[in-house]
């Protein structure tokens, strides 16, 4: 009994475990419910886009459909193929689901206790842990010992490894303004500067959005699970609860990608005029903040679902060239541009560094600093990134080194050739 109280009163245990437990439980419960209802939302939105009704049978407007689905999945027979690599087949979905749930620890859902924890490498932690999630997909596909899962796993790992780079590069731009990797710090930096970083970094936001779509294997980048080509991709051989684990991981990843976009580019749980509605530090303020965060996240998730029915699926080589020849050069160009703009702004005294109790924050001078940063990113940044991409991709579709080495002028005039075609 003494030992129990000693552990209970230990500052480390109480600070890092006991005080966080309520938030952890609530976040896990809410996110798992949201993941289930995202499936419902996806089916409903898809149905409306295609002029159907979607799920209508279970409950009013089919609202209990996720519950029925969950019951069905849990009570289903759990099949492990005879020639599968048993231990890895079992571990793979766990790796996927753990990697996506661990990330929730640093997502800032709201001020104070509404966030589970705030670590000084928050963004890096998210990128690192979500890169482990790829392993679950590859191992699942390989362990099934079947050709479609293996193809799906190969596709998805190649895709995720390439688009991770683009996402990381896109995040560097706003981090130059935030001067911190902590998720709460990024939101506070935007609050101190009274702006959302999407206005300073429109190019980075676009890269992040496209990269996020690819990273979560969603249409138009859903090659890993393209139904018409490889049945269901890496989880073809999975059934019942293990399949449900993959699904939970997938939909949690969508929420995480959206939450990351909201935190870094859309000001997180902050909204102009929020302090007039509720006093900072009270319960109502925290609740309002969480609500604002949720609304922003769902706006982005809605866009994700919307894109699915707007764009046709990419071919594999198109996917790779989009990642390596468009998004990554654009990200690098954006970093260079942002650095140059910031140095210029500092030189002209348009931004100043303010010391707050949580660290140094960059603040642009009203109104010229903000106007300069926004105008520079829109009027100079976008054209320069465009130029860089145009130069890089000038002859990229030729895909032939030999022709490029020995360019010969056609013997006949061009008009003749065109006339023949």
């Amino acid at each position: 009994m003494d030992l129990f109280w000693a552990v209970w009163n230990n500052p480390v245990v109480s600070e890092y475990i006991l005080r966080r437990l309520p938030t952890i439980v609530i976040v896990l419960f809410v996110i798992l419910t949201v993941a289930a209802y995202l499936v419902y939302a996806e089916r409903k939105i898809s149905a409306f886009i295609q002029a159907r009704l979607g799920p209508m049978r279970v409950g009013p407007y089919g609202l209990l459909q996720p519950l029925a689905d969950a019951l069905k999945l849990i009570s289903k027979e759990d099949i492990i193929p005879a020639r599968a690599e048993r231990s890895i087949f079992v571990i793979a979905p766990m790796i996927s689901v753990v990697a996506s749930l661990v990330v929730l620890a640093v997502i800032p859902f709201g001020p104070g206790r509404a966030t589970i924890t705030d670590i000084n490498i928050g963004l890096l932690f998210i990128l690192a842990v979500s890169s482990v999630g790829v392993l679950g997909i590859i191992l699942g596909g390989w362990a099934s010992n079947s050709k479609y899962p293996l193809l799906g796993a190969l596709r998805s790992s190649a895709q995720m490894v390439s688009y991770e780079v683009a996402i990381a590069l896109a995040l560097v731009g706003p981090l130059m303004f935030a001067k911190t990797l902590s998720m709460v710090g990024v939101i506070e930096a935007q609050m101190t500067d009274r702006i959302w970083y999407i206005f300073y970094q429109p190019v980075a936001f676009l890269i992040f959005l496209v990269g996020g779509l690819a990273e979560t294997n969603r249409a138009p980048f859903d090659l890993p699970e393209a139904e018409s080509e490889i049945v269901a991709g890496y989880h073809t051989e999975y059934s019942g609860f293990r399949w449900a684990l993959y699904f939970v991981a997938e939909y949690t990843n969508i929420v995480i990608s959206a939450a990351l976009a909201v935190t870094v580019f859309l000001g997180g749980w902050h909204f102009p005029g929020m302090t007039k509605l509720a006093e900072p530090g009270t319960w109502s303020y925290a609740l309002l903040a969480v609500l604002v965060f949720a609304v922003k996240v769902f706006a982005i998730v809605y866009c994700f679902i919307w894109f699915r029915w707007t764009f046709p699926r990419y071919r594999y080589d198109q996917l790779m060239s989009l990642g390596w020849k468009w998004l990554i050069p654009a990200g690098l160009a954006n970093i260079l541009m942002t650095g140059a703009i910031l140095v210029l702004a500092q030189h002209w005294g348009l931004v100043e560094t303010v010391r707050t109790d949580t660290g140094e924050r960059l603040v642009s001078v009203w109104p010229w600093g903000k106007l300069f940063l926004m105008a520079a990113s829109l009027l100079i940044g976008i054209p320069i990134v465009w130029l860089v991409l145009a130069v890089i991709n000038r002859r990229s579709t030729d895909f032939n080194l030999r022709v490029q080495r020995q360019i010969r002028l056609p013997e006949r005039g061009e008009e003749e050739i065109f006339a023949e075609v």
Binding site: L124, E164, R402
Partner: protein, 183 residues
């Protein structure tokens, strides 16, 4: 450096975890299992970095080694089918165990001698951990400024090496025959 309270628990837990993973990695019969154990060991080492207050290095370790290198290992293992090793009951260890033990013993003795000789160079065992008020908040910043000031030349040399490797791999992968087929 002196360990206190929870640090002790975490240090010994992680250290044994890494050791167990490393030994299992060598003993594993299946290459994929070995890659998984490697992943475990690397994550444990990342935990040790966190204990040293080097959070950025820990994050980079997981991002690059687990998310990049182990994924590539598994990629290669999947493409080169190595399942035969499991079905064929080949001997995992040859009869050079005595030699291996002798080498390990010699290395241990050498380490002990070196430690005893150079003990005065090490920081005292009871020195407290370096505690500066902003150490936690600025770890990333310190890595960045060290990388671009004092370590700028090695950093650039490393990037050049990587560039050479990338160009080399592209040349290796893109053969004459492949070019001709796309003519």
């Amino acid at each position: 450096m002196e360990l206190k309270g929870a640090q002790i628990v975490f240090y010994y837990g992680l250290a044994f975890f890494v050791l167990i993973m490393a030994v299992s990695l060598i003993r594993a019969r299946s290459a994929v299992h070995a890659a998984l154990y490697l992943m475990g060991a690397l994550i444990g080492v990342a935990g040790l970095f966190v204990l040293l207050h080097a959070e950025f290095v820990a994050g980079a370790q997981i991002l690059i080694y687990v998310g990049g290198v182990v994924v590539l290992f598994i990629f290669v293992i999947m493409l080169v089918n190595v399942r035969e090793e499991i079905t064929e009951a080949t001997r995992l260890f040859t009869r050079q165990e005595a030699v291996a033990w002798a080498l390990v013993g010699a290395m241990l003795i050498a380490t002990i001698i070196a430690l005893r000789r150079e003990a005065h160079l090490l920081p005292p065992a009871h020195a407290p951990m370096e505690e500066t008020p902003l150490a936690l908040a600025e770890d990333t910043q310190r890595v960045g400024s060290a990388l671009y000031t004092r370590a700028a030349l090695p950093f650039e040399i490393a990037s050049l090496l990587l560039l050479v490797a990338i160009v080399g791999s592209v040349i290796l992968a893109r053969t004459r025959r492949q070019e001709e087929t796309f003519d």
